[in-house]
Amino acid sequence: MAQIKVMIVEDELITAEAIAILLKKLNYNPIAIISSGEEAISKIKNLNLDLILMDIILAGTMDGIETANFINKNYDIPIIFITAYGDKKTLNRAKLSEPYGYIVKPITNEDDLLPTIELAMYNHQVKNKLKKGNEKFEQIKQLIQPDKNILPSQVNISLEKRNYLEQANEDLDPMLEIEVLGEKINLVEWLKSFSNPERFLILELIKSQPLKLDEIQMFISKSQSTSSHHIKILEKTGFVKGWKNGKYIYYSLNKSKIMEFVHLWENWIKNLSS
């Protein structure tokens, strides 16, 4: 496990050094010793801290409790106060900034520090877990609220589905960046409808005259389901349109759509061939 990185905020250098030595003995890593609250706030961004030991009386205009309040609002780092003041008034003020521990000076050996720090780190972990659990609970609550009548097992499925859909959407984003035009995606679908020999034959057949489905079926000598599948694909891309006459549906070519395809396709090949 990596060493826990600790910042010491203390105005008396000698005391700070003494605490640093004790921390090293306990196998922690005191990476910074800072004397004022303002400096601590400015440096906190660059240091990837796990714990802060804070004196209440500091060198700058801010005192330890104000600094702690600011850090609590903006960062997620546990703070332990180290101070000579054990009176009720200071303690009550310090309480409001939700510290993880309170150590009264003088600190003479490791045993004064170890239990408080260990407990603080443990409490921080537990708090984070609870926070995550709460967030998940809120999410689930929001998802369940609109459809209250659904049974719990069904809610699970819909939740999974939603997660899956969200993931799928995220996956699609980089694709859109590459794609220059939305139109070009259509080209792929259109090419698919041309690439099958039977579909090509159908197009060739109905270009001179409209045909019924059973006639098409007879000519390409395939089963009814196969030919209607091909027709469905061609209708979806828009190359073939069907119209009703009596009880039969006749299919004919949609010439404007085909010209559109030809235009797009030719431009694309020209772009790639030069």
Binding site: M175, I178, V188, L201, F219, I269, S273, S274
Partner: protein, 115 residues
């Protein structure tokens, strides 16, 4: 009328069987008519790429990309050149010039029939 169309179909089918340019066109359409392969071709049109670059920008797994790349390379849509220990893929323009020529022949033939 049905007799007439039957004869016509026979002619068309025969024509398709022997026509190499039709085969070529159909093959090209089948290969380009896939979203991933289409995007790969568009990507390589801008600049030559390594396999890992294609993987990142398409956000697909490595096996699926190399599957598509293999198909494109076999049919000579793209070619690869060694760059250190990696292979760099670039688009082969000749294939597309050929495709354009054959397509133009075909489309003119269709146009002349009052398509």
């Amino acid at each position: 009328m049905k007799e007439l169309t039957k004869n016509k179909i026979k002619i068309i089918k025969k024509k398709f069987k022997n026509d190499t340019s039709y085969k070529f066109l159909r093959e090209c359409m089948e290969i380009i008519g896939n979203k991933d392969r289409f995007l790969i071709l568009n990507l390589l049109n801008n600049k030559p790429c390594l396999l890992s670059d294609i993987e990142k920008s398409l956000n697909r797994s490595q096996p699926s990309i190399s599957h598509h790349i293999r198909i494109l390379e076999i049919h000579k849509f793209i070619y690869s050149s060694n760059k250190g220990k990696f292979k760099e893929y670039s688009i082969s323009r000749e294939k597309f010039v050929k495709l354009l020529n054959i397509w133009n022949q075909w489309f003119q033939a269709i146009r002349s029939k009052n398509y």
